[in-house]
C-alpha cells in the first residue's frame, strides 16, 4: 500500500443512469487540480451520439488549432457510449480513447476493452476528459461507490503495467471480494521515452487471480499519458447488475443477446474459432491468400509462416476459460498465455500472464520480422504490453529498421551494435528493453517510421524516395498488418482512415480481391463509404466490432449482402432502440456515424492535416517497390500488364515493367480517391462540402469556420 497524498478531491451526487446516458461528463485538470462535471446537452446526443463522438466534441473545445501532443491543453478523453456496459449483448464493454497524437499531430482514436469504461460510466460519467500536466506523479481515482473523484500522489516505483495494475487492484479493492470491481488504466516505462506507445486497460480475471490488460494501442496515447505525469487511472464500482444500464426495453436486449450467445455457442467452433485462438485464427488464412506481411510488407506469403499458424498459438493459450474483456461477451476472444517465462529483460524467469498474441501482434512482431518462434512473439507481446508499447507500430517500425539494415542504410555501428537482421528476435527484444530504459537505438525506432525516414535521410544519406516507398506509414502512423498491394479498395481503406492506416475503418480485401464483389470504382467507393461509417458506429456506442462479423448467422451467405451481415446489423438497431428508447433504422445508424466522422475529418483539417495531400500511401502498400518483390510475383505482375494494360511484357526489362506497373497502380489509386471523395460528399481536395455537412446535420458554426479556410 502506497502512502498517497490527496492532491484534489471532488464529491458528486450518485444518480441512476437513464437509458444508457448519465447526461454529464467528468473534467479533470492536472495542472490546476480542478475537477468538475459538465452537462451533456441534447445537442451533444443528437449530433455526436456518445463514445468517440463525445470525445471529439470535448477535445475540439479543449484544444487550440496549434496544440501539440505535449502541450498542457492536449487532452486524453475516454468515453463509453450509450450501449457500453450492458451485460446482455456480446462485445459491449468498450472505451474509446482520443488524444492529439505524438505520431500524427491529429486526433487518434482507439477502441479498447477491459472494465474501466463500463465502471466509469456506471460511476456516473458519459466521458472522462483529462487536461493539463501534473507537477508530480499522479493517479486519478474515481470511486463510483461513494461518489468521489480524487487526484492522488503516486510515489509508486513501479510503472510497468503488469505489476502496477495488479498492485492497484489490490490497493483500491479493499478486499478480495472487490478485486473484480476495480479497473485501471496505465502505460509503462517506454512511454517515458518513445512515441509508439499505448495504454493498458485492465480487468480482473477471477480464475487467474490477476489483472488482465487490453490495449488502446494506436498513436502514442501512452506517451501523452506519461507526459501528463499520470501513473494510472483507477475506478471502483461494485453494484453491477443485469439492468445497470437502465435500458428502455430489457426484454428485447436480453432476447437479442441470448440469440447471439446461442449463435456463438453453435457456430464459433466451425467458423472463426475465436474462443480457442482469438484473432490469431487469421494467421494461416492471411498466409494462404498472400496477405500476411513478411519482411516489412514485401511479401504476403512464405512457407516458414506456417510456424506461426493459429494451432501453434492454441497450444500456448489456456483453453476453456470465459475470456471476455467485458461481462457477457461469449465470443471470449482475449486469449492468454499463462505462466510464461520470459528469457530476457528485467522479468527474465518470472512467470507472467501474457494477453495475446492477437493477429496483429503475431503478424507485426512475428512474420513481418521473420521471427518464426511463437514463444518469441509471446515474449515481444509481453514486453510491449507491460512497457506500454503498441505492438503494431513496434512491428512495423522494427520491420522498417530491419529492411534498412538489409540495404546497408543501417549497420552495427549505427545501431549501437544490434544486428537487425531478419528473424533476430534477440535484437528485436533488446530494442524494446532499450525503449524502456530510454537508451540506445531503441529510442530511434521508438520514434516511429516517419521520423526514422527523416533521420536516415538526413544523417545517413539514405535515398529519401526509397525510404518513402518502403516506410509503411501514412499521416505519421504505422500501417497495421495486412498486405494491400492486390486490393485497391484496401489501399483506400488504409490511406483514407482518418487517424492513419489502421484497418478498423475498412477491411475490404476479401470482398475486393478474393470475391471480386466490388469491381468498379463506384462499387469500391460505395464500400469505402458504407463500411467506415458502419464501423465508426461501434465507437459511438461503446461496442466491439468482432461480434458483428467474426460470427455469422448460419444463413448469412444466402442474404442479399452477406458482407454486411444484415441480421447482425438489425441486432444493433434493435439493441440501440432497446437501450436508449430512441428511434433508429439502418439508414439513421449510418447518419449517426457520418456526423461524427465528418466532424473528426474537419478536426484533422483544423490541426493542419486531413486533406487529399495527406491521404498518400507509401508505394509498398500499392505495389512492388524492389526488383526482388516484382520477381517474387513476376507471373502475377506480368499477367496484369497483359490483361489490364494490353502490354506484352516479353522483351521488357524488370525495371521497365516495374515502372509501367507503378504508373498504372498509382493512377488507379488516384481514380479511386476521386470516386470515394465524391461518394463521401467531399471536394476533389478532400474537403467536406458545405452542402454535405448541412445535409447530415453537421453544419455547426465551429465546423463551418474551419471549412471556410479551405474554400
Amino acid at each position: 500500500m502506497e502512502n498517497r497524498k490527496v492532491l484534489a478531491e471532488y464529491k458528486y451526487e450518485l444518480k441512476p443512469i437513464i437509458r444508457g446516458y448519465n447526461r454529464r461528463t467528468l473534467y479533470v485538470n492536472l495542472s490546476t487540480l480542478e475537477i468538475k462535471e459538465k452537462p451533456v446537452s441534447d445537442m451533444m446526443i443528437e449530433k455526436f451520439t456518445g463514445g468517440k463522438g463525445f470525445d471529439m466534441y470535448l477535445m475540439w473545445h479543449g484544444v487550440k488549432d496549434d496544440t501539440k501532443w505535449n502541450d498542457p491543453e492536449n487532452e486524453i478523453c475516454i468515453s463509453f457510449g450509450p450501449l457500453c456496459g450492458n451485460t446482455n449483448y456480446p462485445g459491449s464493454g468498450k472505451s474509446i480513447v482520443t488524444t492529439i497524437s505524438p505520431l500524427t499531430g491529429i486526433p487518434v482514436d482507439c477502441n479498447v476493452g477491459g472494465h474501466f469504461g463500463p465502471y466509469t460510466k456506471f460511476s456516473g460519467w458519459d466521458a472522462l476528459e483529462i487536461q493539463g500536466k501534473s507537477s508530480e506523479e499522479a493517479i486519478v481515482f474515481i470511486d463510483g461507490d461513494k461518489g468521489l473523484v480524487q487526484i492522488l500522489s503516486a510515489p509508486d516505483t513501479e510503472i510497468n503495467s503488469h505489476i502496477l495494475s495488479d498492485k492497484l487492484h489490490e490497493e483500491f479493492a479493499g478486499g478480495e471480494e472487490h478485486l473484480q470491481h476495480v479497473s485501471t488504466v496505465s502505460s509503462g516505462t517506454a512511454s517515458d521515452h518513445v512515441e509508439i506507445t499505448c495504454l493498458n486497460f485492465s480487468f480482473w480475471d477471477k480464475r487467474r487471480k490477476l489483472a488482465r490488460l487490453k490495449q488502446a494501442g494506436r498513436g502514442g496515447t501512452g506517451t501523452v499519458f506519461r507526459n501528463k505525469k499520470l501513473k494510472a487511472l483507477v475506478v471502483k464500482y461494485s453494484s453491477l447488475a443485469g439492468d445497470t444500464n437502465a435500458p428502455e426495453d430489457i426484454e428485447t436486449l436480453q432476447n437479442t443477446g441470448l440469440k447471439l450467445h446461442k449463435e456463438i455457442e453453435k457456430g464459433d467452433s466451425s467458423q472463426c474459432h475465436m474462443r480457442e485462438m482469438g484473432t490469431a485464427h487469421l494467421m494461416e488464412i492471411m498466409n494462404d491468400y498472400d496477405l500476411l506481411p513478411i519482411k516489412n510488407f514485401k511479401y504476403g506469403q512464405m512457407p516458414e509462416a506456417i510456424a506461426l499458424a493459429s494451432w501453434e498459438f492454441k497450444k500456448l493459450f489456456t483453453q476453456g476459460m470465459p475470456d471476455g474483456c467485458w461481462f457477457g461477451c461469449s465470443l471470449s476472444c482475449c486469449k492468454a498465455v499463462d505462466d510464461f517465462l520470459p528469457r530476457t529483460g528485467p522479468y527474465k524467469g518470472q512467470p507472467v500472464c501474457v494477453d495475446g498474441p492477437e493477429y496483429e501482434t503475431g503478424a507485426g512482431c512475428g512474420s513481418n520480422l521473420c521471427i518464426w518462434d511463437p514463444k518469441d512473439v509471446v515474449e515481444i507481446n509481453f514486453y510491449c504490453d507491460t512497457y506500454g508499447v503498441d505492438t503494431i507500430s513496434f512491428g512495423t517500425s522494427t520491420a522498417f529498421a530491419m529492411e534498412c539494415y538489409e540495404y546497408g542504410i543501417l549497420n552495427k555501428e549505427r545501431t549501437g551494435g544490434l544486428e537487425l537482421t531478419w528473424g533476430n528476435a534477440d535484437a528485436a527484444l533488446e530494442l524494446l528493453h532499450q525503449m524502456a530504459r530510454g537508451e540506445g537505438f531503441g529510442l530511434t525506432v521508438g520514434k516511429g517510421v516517419r521520423k526514422m525516414k527523416e533521420i536516415f535521410a538526413r544523417e545517413y544519406g539514405a535515398d529519401p524516395q526509397l525510404l518513402q516507398d518502403m516506410g509503411m506509414e501514412a499521416k505519421g502512423l504505422e500501417y497495421s498488418q495486412y498486405m494491400s498491394k492486390e486490393s485497391l479498395a484496401q489501399q483506400g481503406g488504409y490511406t483514407l482512415a482518418l487517424k492513419g492506416p489502421q484497418h478498423d475503418e475498412a477491411w475490404l480485401i476479401f470482398m475486393d480481391m478474393v470475391n471480386n464483389l466490388i469491381p468498379s470504382f463506384e462499387d469500391k467507393a460505395e464500400a469505402l463509404h458504407y463500411f467506415p461509417m458502419f464501423r465508426t458506429w461501434f465507437g459511438l456506442q461503446g461496442l466491439c466490432k468482432l461480434p458483428w462479423n467474426d460470427i455469422e448467422p448460419e444463413d448469412n451467405a444466402k442474404t442479399d449482402e452477406p458482407a454486411k451481415v444484415p441480421e447482425h446489423v438489425q441486432n444493433y438497431v434493435d439493441i440501440y432502440k432497446a437501450v436508449t428508447g430512441r428511434p433508429l433504422d439502418k439508414k439513421e445508424l449510418i447518419l449517426q456515424s457520418e456526423r461524427v466522422y465528418n466532424f473528426q475529418k474537419v478536426f484533422c483539417m483544423r490541426m493542419g492535416k486531413g486533406r487529399r495531400i495527406d491521404d498518400v500511401p507509401p508505394y509498398r502498400a500499392v505495389g512492388p517497390v524492389t526488383e526482388e518483390e516484382y520477381l517474387s510475383r513476376q507471373e502475377r505482375y506480368d499477367k496484369q500488364l497483359q490483361d489490364k494494360l494490353g502490354i506484352d511484357p516479353s522483351g521488357l526489362s524488370t525495371a521497365e515493367k516495374m515502372a509501367l506497373t507503378r504508373k498504372h497502380r498509382e493512377d488507379q489509386y488516384q481514380q479511386l480517391i476521386d470516386a470515394v471523395y465524391k461518394r463521401k460528399g467531399w471536394t476533389p481536395e478532400g474537403v467536406p462540402t458545405l452542402q454535405h455537412l448541412s445535409s447530415i446535420g453537421m453544419d455547426l458554426p465551429e465546423v463551418l469556420e474551419v471549412i471556410k479556410r479551405y474554400q
Binding site: A241, G242, D243, E251, L258, F327, G328, S330
Partner: protein, 129 residues
C-alpha cells in the same frame, strides 16, 4: 459424486404437478415457465427437461456466480450474477432458464420437492459417482 434429479419419461403421465410445485416453491406462481423442470407432452415420448448438473455453465460464468456444492449440485449466487445469460447458451440440455421481466437465470438445485409430489415416481433424486 453428484446429486441430481433423474427423470423416467416412460413413467410420466404429464400431470405437470412437478412444474407447479417448483414454480410455487421459487416464484410463488403456477406458471410453468418459472419451473426448473419442464414437461413437454406434445412429443412422444414425453420430454422431461431438467438440469443434470454437468457443470458446463460453471465454466462459462465470468463472475464465478455459479459454483458446485460438495454434493455436486450447481448453485447460482445471485449477488454475483450480472445477468449476461452466457450460462443459458452454454447449457447443452437447455436446462438453464430465465423468465421475462427477470434478471437472473435459474436452474434445478436437486432439492427434491417435485420428486416428493410426483404420483408415479417419474422423477427421483439420485446420486451418481
Amino acid at each position: 459424486m453428484k446429486k441430481l434429479l433423474k427423470t423416467y419419461p416412460d413413467k410420466c403421465i404429464a400431470c405437470h404437478m412437478c412444474e407447479s410445485v417448483c414454480a410455487n416453491l421459487y416464484f410463488k406462481t403456477d406458471e410453468a415457465e418459472k419451473s426448473c423442470i419442464r414437461i413437454n407432452d406434445s412429443v412422444s415420448p414425453i420430454d422431461m427437461n431438467v438440469c443434470n448438473q454437468c457443470q458446463a455453465c460453471v465454466s462459462a460464468c465470468p463472475t464465478k456466480a455459479l459454483t458446485v456444492t460438495a454434493q455436486g449440485v450447481v448453485m447460482l449466487n445471485k449477488k454475483l450474477c450480472i445477468g449476461c445469460y452466457m450460462c443459458i447458451a452454454a447449457c447443452p440440455t437447455d436446462s438453464m432458464h430465465r423468465y421475462l421481466g427477470g434478471l437472473n437465470p435459474f436452474k434445478c438445485i436437486a432439492c427434491g420437492a417435485c420428486a416428493k409430489t410426483c404420483p408415479v415416481e417419474a422423477i427421483k433424486i439420485e446420486t451418481e459417482e
